[in-house]
């Protein structure tokens, strides 16, 4: 077999080595010099390397080597194995290029952090290309003439398409939550996938040997049996893995869309004590320690690193407590279940209306809890505060219709909110999420989830985050329900930018769907009068309270330093003028600059092309 390997090596050296070296150099060069680090072209160039490797089979056929090699003292096993030993690594160059292009640019990025999907991307590429090679090599060895190329192109192109689209689902954190859990918790998955991929290649190799043996029954049967055994073993590993996933509840719960069944059950079990203990009475006016003690007693004992939230055992529910700085007593409690990142899926509007009908005005909060448990719902958020002197707890449930495709701001998302005042249901509403260009729905269009921005106002805008590290700030946002710097509904993004010199945060930019204004029809005079509510030197705390009182929700908050290096927060509020017709003009912006905790400047901007 040494001679056969040497033959492949010499042939590679004389026909493909230069091309391969050029592509490798080009790839490395683009990896470190490209500004946007887009590596698509070099990766596809490696597809050319793949094709060149396959061309050597044509050369062998043309030169008559295939026939001549059968006269050499080499068995079918040696002839086939030499091909596999040599060609598998060469053909896997495409795979290695894809893996490198997925991992290296992110490692070089300033904002790099490990996502569950990052290394699983590498796994997807590895598995996909191993399967591709397992199909392609036998085609090239046994099919004569140019047909082999045409047939080999099919697995090659399919693999490019399937592997890059599957991997992109993992890279951009749009992967289903159940899959994310599997990737982070089931670490045995990685060696198992590698084992299965290698198993498929082994089956391909042994089957090729059996085919090469031709009419030699004994030899053919020997390797056919070995191939069958390898195939059965691979299938057994695969079946065992699926069985394990299924029995451990890792696979998705159809009702809850992309969340695993185990997670759903866990969250339900963890939410129940919250209703029973934290929602049975008012937490307003309690001390932080009192609330923490209750939370710890019901299993919410894991404190997030930023000390801003308490996580349940599964870490799928965060409860954050906001304390009034003057009285040192609780003024806001927020419950947020991570299930709200992936919605309860399936149904039509009438189904959600039917669900909402279970919650009637006048129902006690205890009856509400019993109903939630009976219907096996999970609230996405529960917000508790004092509003107009009364205890208010608002329960939000998110749903998706049957047409929902996964986009955060889809018009196929519905929200049922149940407002409870003094432990009695006051109002039940169903709201639609609409895309930004549509008409006015109510006071606030749900393009920007106002509740989520209010959580930011109450919990994030009270301190200087530029003296913390990027990591701390990200953790703090996560505690407030911002997974991967995106709010639960997906309509608010946070951008935390790192300062290389200080090692701390340079600025934080929180915004709703960029460019989409908050829809509230008003006249110019009304809006100018609104500005009078934000006088200079007003404290930031009072400003936020005023926002709540007036029902104002900024759609952008920028925390940075001004030219004098003083801490600054800018709040941008946008309204539509009466004559708004859906375009980019005819809107009214109010910009409030807060310097070191006090309102410094209020600026207005009117865009009205009619003026």
């Amino acid at each position: 077999m040494k001679g056969l390997l040497l033959k492949e090596f010499y042939q590679w050296l004389k026909t493909r080595a230069v091309f391969t070296a050029v592509y490798v150099i080009l790839f490395i060069f683009s990896m470190f010099t490209s500004e946007d680090r887009v590596f698509t072209l070099p990766v596809y160039l490696f597809g050319v390397v793949f094709g060149l490797a396959l061309s050597s089979f044509m050369l062998d056929e043309k030169s008559g080597w295939n026939e001549y090699s059968r006269t050499l003292p080499c068995s079918p096993f040696q002839r086939v194995t030499a091909k596999y030993i040599f060609f598998v690594p060469e053909l896997m160059l495409v795979c290695f290029a894809e893996i490198a292009s997925a991992i290296i640019p992110q490692k070089l990025s300033e904002d790099f952090y490990i996502q569950p999907g990052l290394y699983s991307e590498a796994l997807v590429y590895f598995a996909a290309w191993m399967i591709c090679i397992s199909i392609t090599l036998p085609l090239c060895i046994f099919i004569k003439g140019n047909k082999k190329y045409a047939l080999a192109c099919i697995p090659l192109l399919l693999t490019f398409v399937v592997s890059t689209s599957a991997a992109s689902k993992l890279r951009y954190s749009v992967m289903p939550e159940w899959l994310g859990e599997i990737l982070t918790e089931k670490t045995w998955l990685y060696p198992v996938v590698i084992l299965i991929s290698v198993g498929i290649l082994v089956v391909s190799w042994l089957t090729s040997v059996a085919i090469e043996a031709g009419k030699d029954k004994a030899y053919r049967n020997k390797y056919s049996i070995r191939a069958a055994v390898a195939g059965i073993a691979t299938l057994a590993v695969f079946a065992t893995s699926i069985f394990n996933f299924y029995s451990s509840g890792c696979l998705p719960d159809p009702t809850f869309g992309e969340v695993s069944r185990a997670t759903v059950e866990k969250i339900k079990a963890e939410a129940n004590p919250y209703y029973d203990f934290m929602c049975s009475e008012s937490n307003m006016g309690k001390t932080h320690e009192e609330c923490v003690a209750v939370l710890k007693s019901i299993g919410y004992s894991n404190q997030s690193e930023s000390n801003r939230g308490f996580l349940s055992d599964s870490e799928k529910i965060i409860v954050s407590l906001t304390v009034d700085k003057e009285t040192n007593l609780i003024k806001h409690v927020s419950f947020s279940s991570k299930i709200n990142t992936k919605l309860i899926k399936g149904g039509v509007d009438s189904d959600f209306e039917e669900i909402a009908e279970n919650f009637t005005a006048g129902m006690t909060e205890k009856e509400l809890h019993a109903k939630i448990k009976e219907l096996e719902l999970i609230p996405s958020t529960i917000s508790e505060k004092i509003s107009k002197g009364k205890l208010q707890r608002t329960y939000y449930f998110k749903f998706a219709t049957d047409n929902f495709t996964g986009a955060s701001l889809s018009s196929d998302i519905r929200s049922v909110s149940v407002k409870v005042i003094n432990n009695v249901i006051d109002k039940v509403e169903i709201t639609h999420y609409k895309d930004g260009s549509s008409s006015v729905l109510s006071d606030f269009d749900t393009v920007l989830a106002p509740e989520e921005m209010r959580i930011i106002l109450d919990n994030f805008c009270s301190e200087n985050h530029l003296e913390k590290t990027t990591e701390d700030n990200k953790n703090e946002l996560e505690a407030l329900g911002f997974m991967n710097l995106r709010s639960a509904s997906g309509s608010i993004n946070a951008n935390v930018v790192h300062d290389e010199e200080t090692g701390l945060t340079d600025y934080i930019y929180i915004s709703g769907k960029v460019g989409e204004p908050i829809i509230k029809n008003a006249t110019k005079e009304e809006l100018e009068a609104l500005c009078d509510n934000f006088p200079d030197d007003m404290s930031e705390e009072d400003l936020i309270l005023k926002f709540h009182e007036l029902g104002v929700v900024p759609h952008e908050i920028l925390e940075s330093r001004n030219y004098e290096k003083k801490h600054k927060r800018n709040y941008e509020i946008t309204y539509l003028l009466e004559n708004y017709d859906g375009g980019d003009d005819k809107y009214y912006e109010i910009n409030i600059d807060v310097i070191e905790g006090k309102v410094f400047d209020v600026r207005t901007y009117i865009e009205d092309s009619a003026d």
Partner: protein, 280 residues
């Protein structure tokens, strides 16, 4: 022990079939396989070498059945195919390296000395060599690993007469060792006549004659006589006849001919042509 033993070898294609070929090549002998184009010579050789798979029958090399597991047998078999199958980008040095790690008895010195004798440029790529030069390289490879059996499919095709003569001498030298044997197929019957101990005629997939060369030459003769005289000879003993205004020239079995006739020795080529025409 026979170098090659073939019994009832069959191979069927859509428009051609090899029909129960049986022959034996004793050790230390040279057998020539003669046949017209498409007779089945190359098919027979490819079956012996296990390049293509037989439908039925038995093929033994050195007393052992040829199969996929008998790869080691081929260590002692030197092969020259009608199309040398070396990669086109290789030169003789690359071929030497590959063969060195393929054959257990590879003789590098012998290989290069043969190339020198054949006047082949070691550094020239295989694709740049002429057909004759490629064949010389192929022959050099076959003769450089201490093979006990050479199987040669049209090895002198494309070679000039001088080098053909030299190669025939090399093959003859090869068989000086009584354990070495050669199976050679060729159109150039004169080469086979010089070289071979046994002759096998193949025609349309059938083995018509397989016998010692000398016995064949003794068995048949050429006679020239009148049309009337030819009628006195048993028609079964007449292999072929050519009539002209001057008389008849026929190839006949010597035993059937009386002393009255003018007997001339027959050549293998003449015998071959007469046998084929007789079949037709």
């Amino acid at each position: 022990m026979n170098a090659i033993e073939i019994k009832n070898l069959c191979k069927k294609y859509r428009r051609f079939s090899l029909d129960s070929i049986s022959l034996e090549l004793p050790s230390g002998c040279i057998m020539g396989l003669i046949g017209e184009n498409g007779a089945g010579k190359s098919t027979t050789i490819r079956l012996i070498l296990d390049i293509i798979k037989k439908d039925s029958g038995s093929i033994k090399l050195f007393g052992k059945e040829v199969s996929a597991s008998s790869a080691k047998l081929r260590d002692d078999v030197g092969v020259v195919l009608d199309e040398p199958g070396f990669p086109e980008v290789f030169n003789a040095k690359n071929i030497n390296k590959v063969m060195k790690y393929t054959y257990s008895n590879w003789d590098e010195e012998r290989f290069f000395s043969l190339l020198t004798r054949f006047d082949v440029d070691e550094k020239k790529k295989f694709k740049a060599l002429s057909k004759g030069m490629k064949m010389k390289v192929s022959i050099a490879v076959a003769l450089s690993h201490k093979a006990k059996l050479l199987i040669l499919d049209e090895p002198t095709s494309g070679l000039d007469p001088v080098i053909r003569d030299e190669i025939v001498d090399i093959f003859y030298e090869f068989t000086r060792d009584p354990s070495n044997s050669i199976l050679i197929s060729s159109h150039i019957v004169s080469d086979l006549e010089k070289l071979c101990d046994y002759i096998a005629f193949i025609h349309k997939g059938k083995l018509l004659i397989c016998d010692e060369k000398d016995r064949l030459l003794e068995k048949y003769c050429i006679i020239r006589c009148s049309a009337e005289d030819i009628g006195k000879i048993n028609s079964d003993a007449i292999k072929s006849k050519k009539e002209s205004p001057y008389g008849v020239e026929a190839i006949v079995e010597r035993d059937a001919v009386t002393i009255d006739f003018e007997i001339n020795p027959v050549g293998i080529e003449e015998l071959f042509v007469s046998v084929i025409k007789g079949e037709k």
